[in-house]
């Protein structure tokens, strides 16, 4: 069964290129336009990974990840921050919020897929960490 990945980005073109990359590798994709929208889409949904932008309207990516990690069902869901931000302070914020990787745009599809496959949890852990 295909693994499901949530993409959170306010840019439609980024959602499309990330979605295209992931779907091409056999993943199922759900997308959200900002952090608030993403929190609404978490409800009861089984997710194997989240890829989130940092700077977004309504709710930024760091706040979203922090909120998501509070929910027991998503405590162990790995998160990749995908952003144009390359500053060390922001990266630390992402790490503190619970992100597992920081990818600076533009990404090469092959490297993104490599990072995704490294972070998607093995089956036993995944069952524990998701609804």
């Amino acid at each position: 069964m295909a693994k499901t990945i949530l993409i959170v980005d306010d840019s439609a073109s980024i959602r499309q290129v990330v979605g295209l990359t992931l779907k091409g590798a056999g993943y199922d994709v759900v997308d959200a336009v900002d952090g608030r929208d993403a929190l609404g889409k978490l409800d009861g949904r089984k997710l194997h990974l989240v890829i989130s932008d940092v700077n977004m309207p309504n709710m930024d990516g760091i706040s979203f990840v922090r909120e998501m990690k509070v929910r027991p069902a998503y405590k162990f869901t790995p998160v990749i921050m995908l952003t144009t931000e390359a500053g060390e302070a922001k990266k630390r914020d992402g790490q503190m919020a619970g992100a597992k990787a920081w990818v600076v745009k533009p990404f090469q599809p092959a490297q993104m897929l490599d990072a995704v496959s490294k972070l998607i949890m093995p089956r036993g852990r995944e069952e524990h960490g998701n609804p």
């Binding site: 144009t84 090469q108 092959a110």
Partner: protein, 184 residues
Amino acid sequence: MMGESGRGFAVIADEVRKLSILSGDTGKQITARVDGVTHAIYDAVRIAEQYADQDARAMRDSERLIEGVLNVFRGAVGHLTEAATRFQHEGRAVQETVSGVIVSLQFQDRVSQTLRQTMDDMARLENLLDERSEGGARGEAAAPIDVAAWLDELSRTYTTLEQLDNHLGTQSSAPAKATEITFF
């Protein structure tokens, strides 16, 4: 006595003669049998040789046929391998093109984001100038714009090192080419 012996000998001789005749017949029969067997063997050998020739011909024909089929097969496999290699190259080229397009789209998105921030800042400046213009019309003295504070505020909206580099006139980062990934 001699008469009896002579009769006895005559009987034996007669028996021997009969045996001799019988033996001669048997010899003839054996000779005939041997001849018959010899002919049969010759016939069998001849037939076997004929079959051997036929088998050899059939074998040669089969070998030619198999060789022909193998040649056709080799040709087909060669064409298929060639086509597969070509498809593989073309597939790789398409994949590279798609990757290039994906990277270009992200650059475009990055430029759009920077332009959006610039436009927002220009709109903010426009609002400020409108306010000052209205204030001037009302006879209010306009305080000078704090350019440093304005630029500082602008710099807080930057999301890329390139924007900061452009702002500061520095070169702190190489242009992004390869994906930069940090694992925590």
